[in-house]
Subunit: 138 residues, 3 copies
């Protein structure tokens, strides 16, 4: 069994953003040499997500608005977590969008449907944060 | 290490539906010959889910109503994604219900609690769509 | 390939609770002897979650309040599932918080960011319930 590990670092200038990290993940897979197996990609921070959906800017604006409705940032003092912090909403948004994805690797490729792309979802940016890529297989 | 891959295809006649796919998954596991390992089952489309919950029709009606409240289909033009499309809500519903499940395989069986069943959740049907089953182990 | 399996049992006295199970998971990993691989931890019940977030009591109170807003327990008869039961909301809350986590194992450790902790999320307690830990790797 082969195993491979890499951290991908991000510094998002805004509080929130969605970044397509599929090209970086494909490069990890190439480096790993794994042909058949599973790839785990997870946020290493608890106010961020890794998820799979569409690379369509209108949809990302819809997600932004929708997540803000389900877990609003304001009023900041409406959350008990926000003592010296203001990111409680980011912990909620991350639960809806998810921490991680597990992707099948088949014949050396990400085994994806036609529109699947992997995104880093940042909900409390403006600092360095990272994603873990772990691959096991043969 | 053994690996196994199969696509399961669906053509749901309605926009939304929940389909119990546990029997098909058990058949995949049998075909794979894997006794100890992990099984990944994921939607290959970004407006559909694979999730584990109860095979109880009342609950499925509750999910339908609840998802519609959290991410309403109407008004269609309330979503920026809906330019020539009307499925933005399906991209939201899928995030709540999830893209994938990972299931332990122990002694050749899905290692499940008493009520766990695997469902395909369709949120934008009326066309052919598919699910991926990937199994690794020994 | 090594594989390891353990059930962790809980009896939460209240309907809802969040329990940090990271120490038990670390002990499982030690017992498994796996140095490189993947660890799956999932609720074996469909009204409970396993998720990764912060071990901060204020945040847990925020989660409790937030989940109650998104999927209220009352009115109990507002759910079709609640025929002789009163836990439909627990099936909703579990979907938001998730069934399972998959964690990378690197050099014999849970490969975690600085604040990641694993929680059992109980949404319909007052009875014995359990979590599955499955580890594969080398």
């Amino acid at each position: 069994m082969k195993s491979y590990r890499k951290e991908l670092w991000f510094h998002v200038a805004t509080r929130r953003a969605f970044i397509n990290i599929t090209p970086e993940i494909i490069e990890c897979l190439r480096e790993s040499g794994v042909r058949e197996g599973l790839l785990l990609c997870n946020a290493m921070h608890i106010t961020a997500s890794v998820f799979i959906n569409d690379d369509e800017p209108g949809l990302h604006q819809d997600y932004e608005k929708w997540l803000e409705k389900l877990a609003p940032h304001e009023p900041v003092n409406g959350y008990r977590h926000n003592v010296g912090e203001d990111n409680a909403d980011a912990h909620m948004k991350r639960q809806i969008m998810g921490r991680e994805v597990v992707v099948a690797i088949t014949e050396g490729r990400l085994d994806f449907g036609p529109w699947e792309q992997i995104f880093y979802g940042e909900f409390d940016g403006r600092r360095k944060k990272r994603v873990l890529v772990k691959i096991i297989g043969e």
